[in-house]
């Protein structure tokens, strides 16, 4: 819009491109010289080498220290995707509940929802992750004295244990065996990501519902729907159109924030890439892998949510 004269526009753009190319050339030539001085071979060849470190936990795939870096990074990626996927589902459920509670007629319920949103939103996620991790590892009892809120569910400072298809957890020696388990790191990351993102989702849900015109609720009441029915059948479907675009960016934020796993020791992609960088010195390749993977995930989530948004839009 309103660009300066044509000749000047071409000159500006040529200048910008030239500056970029020059800066790029400057950085690349410096990097090449530095790598040569430090005897680091650039390229992704190192990915085939033996990683030599163990990974605490993994979903679906098997891994041992003798496997390659490539393999280790794949484990990291599945760990990132697992915590992000479960976190997104949990944050959405919790966020919608709190968003609805924020608009309830009951003043106490509204107060609880407001307090939740204000406190969780105004404290850095990293502080919250450390807090949850400390609460699990310091606040929960040893496996020997584990809390059992439901039969077969055990909360202890070594993690959360619950029944699965393979059996029921039982105390053996100093820890539980059998059933399924969430490590303290995974549990802290999941709880932290879900509760933090839920606070933002709650605000989006509230704004989306308030954006639906007042007449819609009156009309729903007039045809005899109860308050809850009106919300579920009339208000929410319309509110979703306003909710989905900002919800998408919250999903993206949650996925990107899962990279804070590196601070509490959950072996996500970033934390394994970090170990790889420390062991091999391949900093550029390591950071490139992290960025490329997250860009791909971001674009995929955006595409998926745009498709969903198109299906609920007014035709």
């Amino acid at each position: 819009m309103l660009a300066p004269g044509k000749g000047r526009a071409v000159a500006y753009q040529a200048l910008a491109l030239a500056a970029l190319v020059l800066a790029g050339w400057f950085l690349i030539s410096n990097t090449a010289a530095n790598l040569e001085a430090r005897r680091i071979a650039s390229g992704f060849g190192f990915l085939g080498r033996e990683a030599g470190f163990e990974i605490g936990e993994s979903f679906f795939l098997r891994y041992g220290a003798a496997d390659s870096y490539w393999h280790a990074l794949a484990i990291g990626l599945t760990n990132t995707l697992a915590v992000a996927a479960i976190g997104i589902v949990a944050a959405t459920l919790l966020g919608f509940l709190i968003g609805l509670a924020h608009l309830a007629r009951n003043a106490l319920l509204r107060g609880i929802a407001t307090a939740y949103v204000e406190f969780l939103r105004n404290v850095p996620l990293l502080v919250q992750l450390f807090f949850w991790y400390a609460l699990i590892t310091e606040g929960l009892p040893l496996p020997r004295e584990a809390l059992e809120p439901l039969p077969g569910f055990f909360l202890s400072n070594r993690g959360i244990f619950f029944p699965s298809f393979s059996g029921v957890p039982e105390l053996q020696g100093f820890n539980f065996a059998g059933g399924a388990a969430l490590s303290p790191e995974f549990a802290a990351l999941l709880v932290g990501l879900a509760t933090y993102t839920a606070a933002f989702i709650a605000e989006i849900v509230r704004a989306g519902i308030l954006a639906v015109s007042r007449g819609q609720r009156d009309a729903a009441q007039a045809i005899g729907l109860a308050r809850w029915q009106a919300t579920r059948l009339v208000i929410l479907p319309q509110a979703l159109r306003a909710i989905v675009p900002p919800l998408t960016s919250q999903y993206l934020n949650l996925t990107k924030n899962s990279s804070l796993a590196v601070a509490i020791g959950y072996p996500d992609l970033v934390s394994i890439a970090n170990t790889t960088i420390n062991q091999t010195g391949q900093a550029i390749e390591g950071v490139t892998i992290i960025m490329a993977v997250f860009l791909t995930i971001s674009l995929s989530i955006s595409a998926l949510m745009n498709w969903y948004n198109a299906t609920i839009a007014i035709r």
């Binding site: 753009q13 530095n34 007629r105 106490l108 204000e118 404290v123 502080v127 310091e138 970033v270």
Partner: protein, 324 residues
Amino acid sequence: MSRVLTVALTLLVLLAAIPFVQWAVVNAVWQPDAPACRAAHGACWGFIVEKHRFILFGTYPYDEQWRPATATLLLIGLWVFSAFRANWKPRLALVWIAGLAIIGVLMWGGVLGMRYVENERWGGLILTLLLTTFGLAIAFPLSILFALGRRSGMPVIRALCVGYIELVRGVPLISLLFMASVMLPLFLPGGWTLDKLLRAQIAMILFATAYLAEVVRGGLQAIPRHQYESSAALGLGYSSQMAFVILPQALRIAVPPLVNTFIGFFKDTSLVLIIGLFDLLSTVKVSLTDPKWTGFGVEAYLFAALVYFAFCFAMSRYSRRFEH
């Protein structure tokens, strides 16, 4: 129905609050006495009492800590001063330059009989506040350029701005911080070095620029077309149009989302802990490694949460005043 819900909720709140109050107040230990803390069933606030100097000022020389304390208060004062609309005048820039100069003198010292303290020893709250202040002060003007570039009619400029903004927004901040801490040294000609604090600050600026640019763009989009057309009809060139007509209105509209982005940025400075900088969260974490005092993480992180909350909540209350 509503009454039943109120009673049920009250019971639930009490059920959660009573054990919490017992832990946090009734059974709590307030003296810095580790054995007493371990014997008690309550919170150990004595840990905070014992470590508060380290948490707030990091490894800054102990008997010189009045300097970061004064600098912290001065910096907070500058922010509060800037919050009043009556002070939004050109002389505000002069106030900031003077204030930051005094803070620099206080922190580095080396003059007026104050000992020189290298910035590797700065830490705690002042580091968090300085990272935020300088990050925003440099990223904000840059973000305006990127926002204007993204709406520019010049395809190359637009493509560069879109590419930069979307790239940075698509990757986690951690990856930018890693880039700054492990890749930046490789980018520089041999023999050049940047210290850790400066490298982290650069990453934070790159990050904030992209997010702020999108907020500024939102403000620009809210300006009706006729504002552009009538200012062009007055014969104003592109830069005068932007500087005197469009930006003053666009930035005013964008104040609430800008403050929200500022809050997000303030919270995100805590990530510098991961690349080994000594910010407020980092000093809290390090103070827990004292063998005499391990195992009080819940208390320590609650305290950190309260400090961050105080700043963020104040900012969010402030931005709400502009929404009406």
